[in-house]
């Protein structure tokens, strides 16, 4: 337990003196591991193995696709077409952002990939349409979390394999809650835009709209290609990210002719920088999680909660708080693998449906994506929007409340998750 205190203490101290978060996680973990007699030379290999994973590689793919679209003209044409159609409506562009995240979530099983793909276009689009950047970043970070709730979903696949549940059923169970959360985000976007007077650009003529749409047609084809590519079975989600990048490159060079060699190198540099920043944090967080696992901290936490109450609602409350706290520091996949085996056996005692619990857990993992200090969507948005992490956090905090509403609805009304999972 002492080493755990050292772990969190060192981490907090290092963060406060402005050591990069990734290094703070790494140094704190090394010190704590040393205290429990762990042989440290294998740690670097753990970091290497954590990153050497094809599933994670969808992140650089979509970051690159987003960067090349914004440098190569695709984004500009898309944005001006979008503004022509919905820019005059209060909240119009924000609504498009949420819808785009929902559609993208239906093909990608990853939240950071969703935030990267949509954010690169929609954050500038919102800013250009008069929304505050802070709000735009928060909306993308939060809506991006739908990536793991609306099927397909990597956390639900992992839940299925740990809980021996049908992945098909789990996927179906995520649909309505995904629509509910998406709906809440949509309504909030409209209300907020009315209050803040976001949007409200001059209405453009139909000719102008179609003209701009025509110019943006190559951009509008991209989602068709990605969706079609995955649903026709041509590509996996990771491959789709790279196909998207290649498509963006070809359109920029051959159609819009806005891509210079220098511009291309800048796109590469930016993509590598953002990916490296996110991946160093993922690698370090993996080591941080490994320490907690060897010391059985999450395991003890979970056991303590299930042994300290016999009330179903207190149990659910405790578990949600635990997920929130673990989610601040750990990756969603790690949390599921470590805590689920301990929680599963008691679900029956509390009469909690295993499939409903999968959705509750997944929605908690959505929080984990946007809670500091370790929240992948925060980092993705910070990277693509070139903004300080503190600004992104300020933007995202109001969305905790909205997501909490959706979570409570899913907890209180089992039908939301179970109706389609029959």
């Amino acid at each position: 337990m002492n080493a755990t205190v050292v772990l969190f203490g060192t981490f907090a101290l290092l963060c406060l003196i402005r050591v990069p978060i990734a290094v703070s996680l790494g140094v704190a973990s090394l010190i704590a591991l040393h205290l429990v007699d762990f042989t440290l030379y294998t740690v670097i290999q753990k970091m290497f193995s954590a990153l050497n994973s094809a599933t994670l590689m969808a992140i650089p793919g979509f970051v690159f696709a987003g960067a090349i679209m914004s440098k190569g003209g695709l984004s500009n044409h898309l944005i001006s077409a979008l503004r022509a159609w919905v820019g005059h409506m209060r909240g119009g562009v924000a609504v498009v952002t949420v819808l785009a995240c929902m559609i993208f979530a239906a093909i990608s099983g990853s939240s950071p990939a969703t935030a990267a793909a949509i954010g690169a276009i929609m954050i500038p689009a919102m800013v250009e349409s008069g929304y505050s950047k802070r709000y735009a970043m928060g909306l993308v970070a939060a809506s991006g979390t739908l990536g793991i709730l609306i099927p397909p979903s990597i956390p639900l696949i992992i839940y299925g394999s740990v809980a021996e549940e049908s992945v098909g059923k789990l996927f179906s169970a995520g649909i309505i809650p995904g629509l509910v959360l998406g709906g809440i985000l949509l309504v909030s976007a409209v209300i907020y835009a009315r209050i803040k007077n976001f949007g409200g650009l001059p209405r453009e003529s139909m000719q102008e709209r179609w003209r701009k749409t025509g110019k943006a047609i190559w951009g509008f084809l991209l989602p068709v290609i990605i969706l079609g590519g995955i649903y026709s079975g041509a590509v996996t989600p990771t491959e789709a990210s790279i196909v998207a990048g290649a498509y963006g490159f070809l359109v920029s060079v051959l159609v819009y002719r806005e891509m210079t060699w220098k511009g291309f190198l800048e796109v590469l540099r930016e993509s590598i920088n953002i990916t490296a920043m996110i991946f160093l944090i993922i690698a370090s967080a993996t080591v941080f999680g490994m320490f907690l696992t060897t010391e059985q901290v999450p395991q003890d936490f979970a056991q303590w909660i299930e042994s300290s109450t016999s009330n179903k609602w207190l149990f659910i409350l405790g578990v949600n708080i635990m997920f929130f706290i673990l989610g601040m520091f750990l990756e969603s996949v790690a949390i599921i693998l470590i805590t689920l085996p301990i929680l599963l056996p008691v679900l029956a005692l509390f009469h909690i449906n295993v499939i409903q619990f999968a959705i509750i857990m997944t929605m908690n993992m959505e929080f984990a994506m946007i809670t500091p200090p370790v929240g992948l969507n925060l980092f993705v948005v910070s990277g693509i929007a070139r903004e300080k992490i503190g600004e992104v956090v300020k933007g995202v905090v109001p969305f905790y409340g909205l997501m909490l509403i959706a979570l409570v609805l899913v907890i209180v009304f089992p039908g939301l998750s179970l109706t389609l999972a029959k």
Binding site: Q45, T55, I154, I158, G160, S161, A234, L337, P341
Partner: protein, 330 residues
């Protein structure tokens, strides 16, 4: 009854300190699969036996699901003694010694018992010994079982039916050769993405043991299964010399008892689980199932001869010969 020789190699390798008192220590066992698997049941049996026999002086912590170490980093952490036992898939060890390709050699063993007898025997133990230069001791083979083929395109009976189909395999050069010899493609797809890839048709099929097909629910997204038993998934229980040599005789005996108990449970549960998984798959009625007849199997063997032509010398003709000798005669 197959486990007598399981302790052969460490007993020779470990000097150990003599003495009667059981040492107080904590042992970590790490593996990469779920809890209701034979592997985890075997690990739990080790835990129970060791903790009970040591009167609680030895504590055993079991970490399933890659919680602690994954496929790619468990071996070096074993070498570093950050974990005392791991139970990797032999297919992940082919980079350490080509002998671990044995489970991927097509139609080599006709039963779990034959495979177990091979690994308990001198040739199998010799392959384990090759890890000793790294400070790693191979203790026992733990089976998962024979693999079958599922796909979404057509019922597969003869080797020709495989032509032009794309299968996801675990990877490895022998499996690649098996599939290319049959005119099929083998694709590496991350296990997390496999369910979706099968559903959306990125690949046509995959190969796995019944227990994996059932627990990963691949039958939900596959139309046909052929019970081929063409290759196997087998694990090996490994420990490290640093840990092993630090044990005195009394402690070593208790740990060895745990290894034996775990091996017995893992082997028994593997057979049970595969049988019950097949029943469950059949009960869902979601896949059309065909079992290769002995005549079919002969055709497959003939078709796959090039795999043996290439790999017999790499693995060792004597090893292959010995492996075959454990099958039922006739």
């Amino acid at each position: 009854g197959q486990t007598q020789s399981a302790g052969g190699s460490p007993a020779n390798a470990g000097g150990g300190s003599a003495g009667g008192d059981i040492q107080s220590l904590t042992i970590k066992i790490s593996h990469v699969v779920a809890e209701d698997t034979p592997k985890h049941q075997g690990a739990l049996a080790m835990k129970d036996t060791i903790e009970k026999e040591s009167g609680g002086k030895i504590k055993v912590q079991v970490y399933p699901n890659s919680q602690l170490f994954g496929d790619k980093d468990e071996y070096q952490n074993l070498v570093a003694n950050n974990v005392q036992f791991i139970i990797p898939d032999m297919a992940k060890l082919v980079g350490n010694d080509p002998g671990f390709n044995i489970p991927s050699m097509p139609f080599l063993f006709d039963s779990d018992e034959a495979a177990e007898a091979f690994w308990d025997g001198p040739k199998g133990q010799e392959i384990f010994k090759h890890l000793e230069k790294d400070g790693v001791l191979g203790l026992a083979m733990w089976p998962n079982g024979p693999k079958s083929i599922t796909n979404n395109v057509r019922p597969i009976k003869s080797p020709e039916d495989m032509k032009g189909l794309k299968f996801r395999t675990q990877g490895g050069q022998v499996l690649e050769k098996v599939y290319s010899t049959l005119g099929a493609g083998s694709v590496s797809i991350p296990f997390d993405e496999l369910y979706t890839a099968l559903q959306q048709g990125t690949v046509d099929g995959e190969e796995n043991t019944f227990s994996n097909i059932e627990s990963k629910k691949f039958y939900e997204v596959q139309k046909y299964m052929t019970i081929t038993n063409h290759t196997r998934v087998d694990y090996v229980l490994l420990t490290n010399t640093k840990f092993w040599n630090s044990l005195n005789d009394a402690t070593k005996k208790i740990v060895m008892d745990g290894v034996k108990a775990g091996t017995q449970v893992a082997r028994q549960k593997a057979a049970e689980l595969n049988a019950s998984a097949l029943d469950k798959i059949k009960a869902t009625g979601k896949m059309q199932i065909y079992t290769l007849t002995p005549e079919d199997v002969q055709k497959w063997r003939d078709a796959l001869k090039p795999v043996y032509d290439e790999w017999t010398s790499k693995i060792g003709a004597d090893v292959i010969q010995d492996a075959m000798s454990h099958n039922k005669k006739g």
